[in-house]
């Protein structure tokens, strides 16, 4: 049954060749993800860094025909809107995560977990529509508050899920040891389990913050926009992401440049939060693996 060894090896060679071609295709696939990323980052940094100035960070916008001016009100506005989202989202998100992890072995816990996962994939514009219908129409005007509430709806599911997963990583016997010593439920969770998981809980919060800080769609018809300093959280305010959008679709060359500078500021914040979160997480993972 010896068919010619050469024909057999030819077939084998073809199979191996196909193996190599397909690895090559996988590398091309990876390039399809890396090239756009580098391209976007490059454009933002190249145009943004060339035009960023102290004035951009510290002064109010000028009319488009004048030139100069800055986005200081939008930078403050973004801070306020994201701050409102965190003020609502951290207690609700962490509380929900604690419940799902520690007391969630029941229909309520499972339903919440499922809903959080579904809501984490929800179109962000839907949060804006609902905040518009419930708050903006009721109050009669746009406001920073409605924007913050819309963002909190996107923040909570992410934080709840990451908090639950962080708490689940804390070994069971730590809880049992604490309970066995007669420590009650609340201090066990707050002083034993939560501190042990704190690094990962914070990581989740930072990633969720980065996500909502870059959100534009929910703010279009809630925080809206403004050319002036915000006059209160019940008033409309400029934000960095919405400014990028309105400046980019405007007909003014000068505003297009400012949109790129704004994108540089936004991207720096978002990427800083992401990188910081990952390095924090990586360090803890290594620490736990070493321990």
């Amino acid at each position: 049954m010896r068919t010619g060894g050469s024909s057999l090896s030819l077939r084998l060679r073809l199979r191996l060749l196909r193996d190599h071609v397909l690895v090559g295709l996988c590398v091309v696939a990876l390039a399809c993800a890396i090239v756009p990323l580098v391209w976007v980052l490059w454009e933002v940094v190249a145009v943004g860094a060339a035009h960023i100035s102290w004035e951009f960070l510290t002064s109010l916008p000028n009319p488009p025909t004048v030139g100069g001016g800055g986005w200081a009100n939008a930078i403050v506005g973004s801070g306020v809107v994201v701050g409102i989202a965190l003020a609502i989202g951290i207690p609700v998100g962490v509380g929900t995560g604690i419940f799902m992890s520690e007391y969630g072995n029941n229909p309520l816990g499972r339903a919440t977990r499922f809903l959080c996962e579904v809501m984490a994939g929800l179109p962000s514009i839907v949060a804006g529509i609902v905040a518009y219908g419930l708050i903006v129409i009721t109050m009669g005007h746009f406001s920073a508050l409605s924007g913050g509430i819309a963002l909190s709806a996107l923040f909570v599911p992410i934080v709840a899920i990451t908090t639950q997963e962080a708490l689940q990583m804390v070994p069971r016997h730590q809880r049992e040891a604490s309970l066995a010593l007669g420590v009650a439920e609340a201090p066990t969770t707050l002083r034993v389990v939560l501190p042990a998981a704190m690094g990962n809980v914070l990581t989740g919060m930072m990633i969720a913050t980065a996500r909502v800080a870059g959100e534009t769609a929910p703010l279009l018809f809630t925080a809206f926009g403004s050319r002036y300093w915000m006059e209160g959280i019940d008033q409309p305010t400029a934000t960095i992401p919405v400014n990028i959008y309105t400046y980019a679709i405007s007909p003014f060359e000068h505003w297009h440049t400012q949109a790129w500078v704004g994108a540089l500021v936004l991207l720096s914040i978002v990427l800083f939060l992401n990188v910081a979160a990952r390095t924090l997480w990586a360090r803890r993972a290594r620490f736990m693996a070493g321990a």
């Binding site: 193996d19 439920e185 609340a186 991207l267």
Partner: protein, 303 residues
Amino acid sequence: MDGIRRRWFRYLTGTMAVVVLAAAALILYELWAGSLPTWREWGLSFIWRTEWDPVRGEFGALPFIVGTMLTSGMALLIALPVSLGIAILLTEYAPRVLRDPLIFIVELLAAVPSVVFGLWGIFVLAPVVQQHVMPFVAGSPLGLLPIFGEPGPGYTLFTASLILAIMIIPIIASLSREVLMTVPREQKEGALALGATRWEAMRHVVLSYAKPGLFSAAVLGLGRALGETMATTMTIGNRLGLTFDYFESGNSMTAIIANELREAASEIHVSSLMAIGLVLFLLSFVLNTLGRLIVMRVHTGAA
């Protein structure tokens, strides 16, 4: 009484969970209540009506639903093989030292805000697509397909699809990678021991084992593309009217809401935009639920 004192923390956090459930219900209720005038006026026919004229008070969702389906579908078609390739590379072939940095880079792509992609789309990608990509596709055999007409402006369904594809690659790739990692080593090693090349082991053993999980990754990616707003709005062209031509400016469910809700004056206009929001919500809810259910079944099946 004593029970409450000892268990207050459980009740407090439980209240937070109830708040989350209530918020989800409130979202659904508000979308329904806000869109009621539209459903009263046209009933379900709102979904397949094609007119959209705020001045005459005529509204119909079909052009936007079609635009969303076309762009998300094309985005998935492009992103799926790319993401799968990335996932295979990262689980099977990438050297250990490169693996974590590469995973990190792909995840960074997911961190770039949608509006930054939109900005890049307007000023960088759209001109490139108009001058190079669309003429190339039109000149290739693909150009014979009826979905590609004459290459038009830079802001088209095609440009929006490309941006969406880039944006959903990270999520599909990372979900696929998780799925591929659940494939038992023994199965793969068995195939390799029988003389299969790595690719053959991948195709016949790993991929067939992972098929349901990969399907759910695709479904979740599609759900993400469906709801993506800023990058789509900034590159799709925002032209009213039904079109099936990828090389034509179009519109999507998210784009019409982003463009018109802030300036909508009449009640029926606002309510029609909310009705589109409700349809979008339900579509994405169904896709997300489907995706999650498959993931859960895969996990319990494997355990």
